[in-house]
């Protein structure tokens, strides 16, 4: 947009790392909406497909901003390696006042690693931490770092991708404006991590 912006966004190009757009698995209950950066996001969460009643009350889902550091709860649970078997363990003794009818599916918790995707810049592999059916953290286990250029791009893009992954599901957004990097590799690896999580 700005006259010269074409060039400088070359950063995104080189890395080929970027926006995880359209992460909308139906189970993502984004009822908690939350606030990011102090501004309200709640408008968007109304658009959630699945009502996801239980998980809202299960535990205060960490706001997406703080979620960059894996919530302790999520990490603990991940050691159990229980995908969806133990409802009671995951949702702490839900008194279930507002949602007496248990959802068809227990909320998932755990750490899930996506398949390694080859991109023309190098391999990309994503790991997600899920707590009560919500992604609370995402990180790159592998990313292009074979040369200085890729390294600096990765350093720039990966934190962005991590946040975007979390924000995308918590706010249920399908695109990011204001500057964006795209990566099919990240997306593909994320999809396989989500599949492993049964999400």
């Amino acid at each position: 947009m700005g006259a010269k912006r074409f060039l400088l966004i070359a950063g995104g190009t080189v890395g080929g790392l970027g926006a995880v757009l359209s992460i909308t698995p139906p189970q993502f209950g984004s009822a908690s909406g939350g606030t990011l950066g102090g501004n309200t996001l709640s408008g968007a969460s109304a658009a959630t497909t699945a009502p996801a009643p239980a998980q809202t009350q299960a535990a205060p889902a960490p706001a997406a901003t703080t979620a960059a550091t894996p919530a302790p709860a999520a990490t603990k649970k991940s050691t159990k390696k229980s995908t969806k078997s133990t409802t009671t363990a995951t949702t702490p003794a839900a008194p279930a006042t507002t949602a007496p009818a248990a959802p068809a599916k227990a909320a998932v918790s755990g750490t899930f690693t996506g398949a390694t995707q080859q991109t023309r810049f190098g391999p990309v592999q994503v790991q997600i931490t899920v707590s009560n059916g919500k992604i609370t953290a995402a990180k790159a286990l592998q990313y292009p770092n074979n040369d200085f250029r890729s390294q600096s791009i990765s350093q720039q893009a990966i934190p962005y991708l991590v946040q975007e992954t979390i924000a995308a599901q918590s706010a249920n957004i399908q695109g990011v404006g204001g500057a964006s990097y795209t990566s099919q590799g990240w997306y593909d690896s994320l999809v396989s991590a989500l599949a492993k999580a049964g999400m």
Binding site: M1, R5, F6, L8, A47, A68, I173, Q174, G177
Partner: protein, 250 residues
């Protein structure tokens, strides 16, 4: 009803353009071939409009080697539309007032994305997102009955989404000090723009949204009155002030 959906990345314009396209009436390979056509179009746009290519028509126009009447119909169209955008913004957006001469970069991304969307619609694609480095053109919502939810990232913090817009059809463009310091000059004074720090504009037309976002970086709050113009009645903005975290919207 199931949707066939294809996501693709198109590397051009010095960036990567992300395309998300789906349809209930045509299959994935038909969507893919529609995207291929868009890819060719965007490459062509780069060849003609890039200010970084010595032999592009825009570069030659800037050097005075050719005149606008010698240029492709697309470039002549953009020239005319830039002129209209300059009038609409009362000169706050002025692609002629750029070092080195006419530079339509602040308009052409939105224009080309809009064009790409109509090409794909003609091919039967129903739900389209074209994201060129943070400026988006959108059509048909994300799926039937659901708009696209687009998060706008914080101007200085790539990891924070500050605002979410729900848009089914239209364009949303953000200008500001993303990526590097302010690079937009105030056409009226020739000085670095001191209006808004970040301006997001959404409305029906991508090129106009692009131009308005740039205009607000220059004009800041002084540019709010532009949105009272009847031609801009369908446009809205969301702006972060330069010297504070205050945001205002129309």
């Amino acid at each position: 009803m199931t949707l066939a959906r294809v996501r693709a990345e198109i590397e051009t314009w010095g960036t990567i353009i992300f395309v998300d396209a789906s349809s209930s009436t045509i299959n994935e390979s038909a969507i893919q071939s529609s995207i291929d056509k868009v890819r060719d179009f965007l490459y062509e746009v780069d060849e003609v409009f890039s200010t970084y290519k010595d032999q592009s028509q825009v570069s030659r126009l800037r050097r005075g080697e050719i005149k606008i009447v010698d240029c492709t119909p697309d470039l002549q169209e953009v020239w005319q539309l830039c002129h209209e955008a300059k009038l609409l913004t009362d000169g706050y957006f002025d692609p002629w007032c750029v070092e080195g001469g006419f530079d339509p970069s602040g308009y052409v991304k939105g224009w080309a994305s809009d064009r790409a969307i109509s090409m794909m619609k003609t091919d039967g694609v129903e739900h389209i997102q074209i994201n060129s480095a943070g400026d988006l053109s959108l059509a048909g919502g994300h799926e039937p009955g659901k708009p696209w939810s687009i998060g706008i990232r914080h101007p200085e913090d790539a990891q924070t989404i500050v605002k979410v817009f729900e848009i089914a059809d239209g364009a949303i463009a953000t200008s500001g000090t993303y990526e590097r310091g302010s690079h937009i000059k105030d056409p009226h004074t020739g000085l670095i723009a001191i209006g808004a720090r970040s301006a997001t504009v959404y409305g029906p037309n991508g090129g106009v949204a692009d131009a308005l976002a740039t205009a607000l970086i220059v004009a800041g709050k002084d540019g709010a009155y532009l949105f009272q113009k009847p031609e801009l009645s369908e446009y809205h903005c969301w702006v972060i002030e330069r010297h504070s975290d205050e945001a205002w919207a129309i």
